[in-house]
């Protein structure tokens, strides 16, 4: 089941009503309901893969208790490794195995040995496997680092692992944040519900109007990059930047909004990354839950930036390459991660990786300064360029795209593959950027206007835009489901 489907719009009110009106005063019953709802939500995609979630839940539940049961450091570590090996093993089996076999075969073919790919697995990638395995691992890590006491309440723990709003594409919650909410009594809060509905509306807008509407253009340009001029390729990759942002941040907003309806606050996953002033700030604003996960569970244990400069650079490279590999079993993602590492290192060496941590562009003014504008544009260009690797189906295709971009530097008028007016999309993107700039200080309140009239006008415009750009023929699946 996906958020932008009719099934979900029937499913959500039913669960909401049961949750608040039938099981209102029974925390345990509410958690069981969330667990059942989450399994139904996931099972509607493919019920067979529920076994993987259940297995991951059982393993980390047991590991948590085992780690806590002993004070011997070696034994605690051993149990932590059980969790890590099991979860990474799941990922390895379903997501990376074929990639490694394929790369192995390719490597041998370079030396003239032809190997047959008889060892390939013919398995479907279970939706959201990268997200829930990381979330369960975070529980074992938190118990190991003594930030969390393990629970003996299996059902509530299972509800934490499979909590449907963020099960398939995050935000990847740290156990210490989400579990405390799952285990504590929730009370219905009207303002929280309204705030959740607003986020759902805004998320749907980003998905339907931004991501889905420009998807066919991006698909067309990337599929036929060999026949387009540089101007069209720039247009394609720029629009892809907005598409992937609209798609993923839209999903996150709907997830956070849905979660609010059940009285649970998830962490923010996006904070207007398009207004980042350098690559470091970009990573503080883009897919925050994943960056946070890597920082807490890999970067800091590796030593972070506390050691020598060389060691810090090594850690940065590891983090970005792992992050790239997390996205998919393809060299394109590894190159994408590597590119970001290369873009991040100069910022780190200049000591500017944390300077924009607590501020936004034009923090105390209406308009940004020219310097800020230049910084934002430069960061956007760097990030957008990296998306060529992210979007391309293979590394050959990515370099082919770049080659074409550099060698065919001419302008052509691009026509929409379905015949729509392109001007509509240019205006749409400009208005979207302007609006995001206006609301840039609070990512959780997209309609934060004091005037009721202004709010009403904004709601109407957002819904109207959805009607104007909704196309029933467009593929409406979320990009990050493939990860």
């Amino acid at each position: 089941m996906v958020f932008n489907s009719l099934e979900f719009f029937i499913f959500l009110p039913v669960v909401f009503i049961l949750y608040w009106f039938v099981f209102k005063n029974h925390l345990k019953a509410q958690n069981v309901l969330l667990l059942i709802a989450s399994y139904v939500f996931y099972g509607m995609w493919d019920w067979r893969f529920l076994s993987l979630i259940l297995l991951s839940t059982c393993v980390d539940y047991g590991v948590g208790l085992k780690i806590d049961a002993t004070t011997v450091a070696k034994q605690r570590k051993r149990w932590l490794w059980v969790s890590v090996i099991f979860n990474i093993g799941l990922l390895g089996c379903f997501k990376y195995y074929n990639f490694f076999v394929d790369s192995w075969i390719d490597m041998f073919s370079v030396f003239g040995y032809e190997l047959k790919s008889t060892w390939m697995l013919h398995v479907v990638l279970p939706v959201g496997i990268s997200f829930y395995t990381f979330q369960t691992m975070s529980y074992s890590f938190d118990v190991y680092y003594k930030k969390l006491k393990p629970t003996s309440d299996f059902l509530s723990f299972a509800a934490f692992v499979s909590f449907f709003p963020q099960l398939v594409a995050g935000p990847i919650e740290r156990a210490s944040n989400l579990m405390s909410q799952i285990f504590n009594k929730r009370t219905f809060n009207y303002n929280q519900m309204v705030s959740g509905l607003k986020l759902i509306l805004w998320g749907l807008f980003k998905k339907i109007v931004i991501a889905d509407a420009i998807g066919p253009i991006v698909d067309d340009i990337f599929a036929n990059y060999n026949s387009h001029s540089a101007s069209t390729l720039i247009l394609g990759v720029t629009l892809f930047s907005f598409q992937v942002y609209g798609d993923f941040s839209g999903y996150s907003d709907i997830a956070i909004g849905t979660s609010k309806l059940f009285g649970i606050e998830l962490m923010s996953n996006f904070k207007f990354p398009n207004f980042s002033r350098n690559v470091a700030e970009y990573w503080q604003r883009w897919h925050i839950s994943l960056s946070t996960w890597f920082r807490h569970y890999i970067y800091i244990p590796l030593g972070g930036s506390r050691g020598s400069t060389l060691k810090s650079i090594r850690n940065i490279c590891i983090i970005f390459l792992v992050s790239g590999f997390w996205h998919g079993a393809n060299w394109t993602f590894i190159f994408w991660g590597g590119f970001h590492a290369l873009a991040f290192i100069p910022v780190f060496l200049l000591g500017r990786n944390a300077v924009y941590k607590d501020t936004v562009i034009a923090q105390n003014s209406i308009f940004p300064s020219f310097t800020e504008l230049g910084q934002v544009l430069l960061t956007f260009v760097i990030v957008t360029f990296s998306r060529i690797f992210f979007r391309s189906a293979s590394i050959t295709e990515a370099f082919g795209f770049i080659h074409r971009l550099c060698t065919n530097f001419t302008y052509e008028t691009y026509l929409h593959p379905l015949g729509y007016r392109m001007m509509d999309y240019y205006i749409l993107i400009i208005l979207f950027v302007v609006y995001e700039y206006i609301i840039r200080k609070d990512e959780r309140s997209p309609f934060l206007f004091t005037s009721k009239v202004v709010r009403f006008i904004m709601y109407t415009i957002v819904v109207l835009a959805m009607l104007l750009f909704y196309d029933s023929n467009v593929d409406r699946s979320f990009i990050y489901f493939q990860f």
């Binding site: 379905l418 819904v463 109207l464 909704y470």
Partner: protein
Amino acid sequence: MLLYAVLIALCLEVVIRLLHLTKDYPVRYVDEFGVEKWVPNQRGFAVTGIRRQHFSEYHINNSGYNSYREFHPTPDQVEIALVGDSFIEGFHQQYTNSIGKKIEQRLKDVEVYEYGYAGYDFADQLHMINTYKETFDLVDYVVLGLKFENDLTRSSYTVVQDRMKLETPLYKTLRQSKLLVYLQNVGTFDAAKSLLSKITSVNNNNKAISKRSSETELQDQYIINFKRLVHTYGYDKQRFTLLLDAAQTPPIFLKYLEDNGFRYLDFSEPLQASKTPTNLIYDMHWNNHGRTLIAELVADFVAENIEK
């Protein structure tokens, strides 16, 4: 919150009306002779696609068909009747720039009558011609649009109740809301419809399997239907010509037509040879260029016959 939702819906209704984002629905009826058509003398606008991609005006004439002219054939004048479905009806085009008008521009002193109505199959067409026999006897050339796989599914004419259901008070009331019409046209309700059909298909699955026929059986049945319709309502092989896409028509039917002296015009060749698109973006109807090619095909055919 509910108040907000209602107010937003009202605003959207106003915006959709102001920007004319969705189509008008002419009223249909069944006349005293049992012919289903549009209520005469209506005007409105047809809109296709999101953001008003195609916008055109229609004009239902006194005979109940979309045309810029009235149909008054005389023995002294050369007239062509184009009979068919939505392709001939042409709501997706400006009524002043129809196929008929394009033919008239190519042939001097010829009047073209467009008897087009969305959903008309061969039974509808022959029944209508037969019913208005006196009028059609005065028409010199009758061109009937035929799509084999759609238009020969029945062997006799009855009013299609599914279409007439659209004139029930419930549908008429729902159509008063332009917002609902827009939502329906852009496919917002498709998901709900497919969910409903999924549910109902579970019950009807077994029946559907038993009814499924092979392609050859279907083709044979359609040819039988064609023969029956011709037999029941009459068909003047001298004046009548079929307009069809030979590339999409089974060879067995084409052979039958050729062997039995049924003339046909094949539009597949000119359309396929065209370097520019011949169809609209959102649906399969001919665009302006496609209509021009069809008009040329018909006009050349009639010109050739006039010369003879």
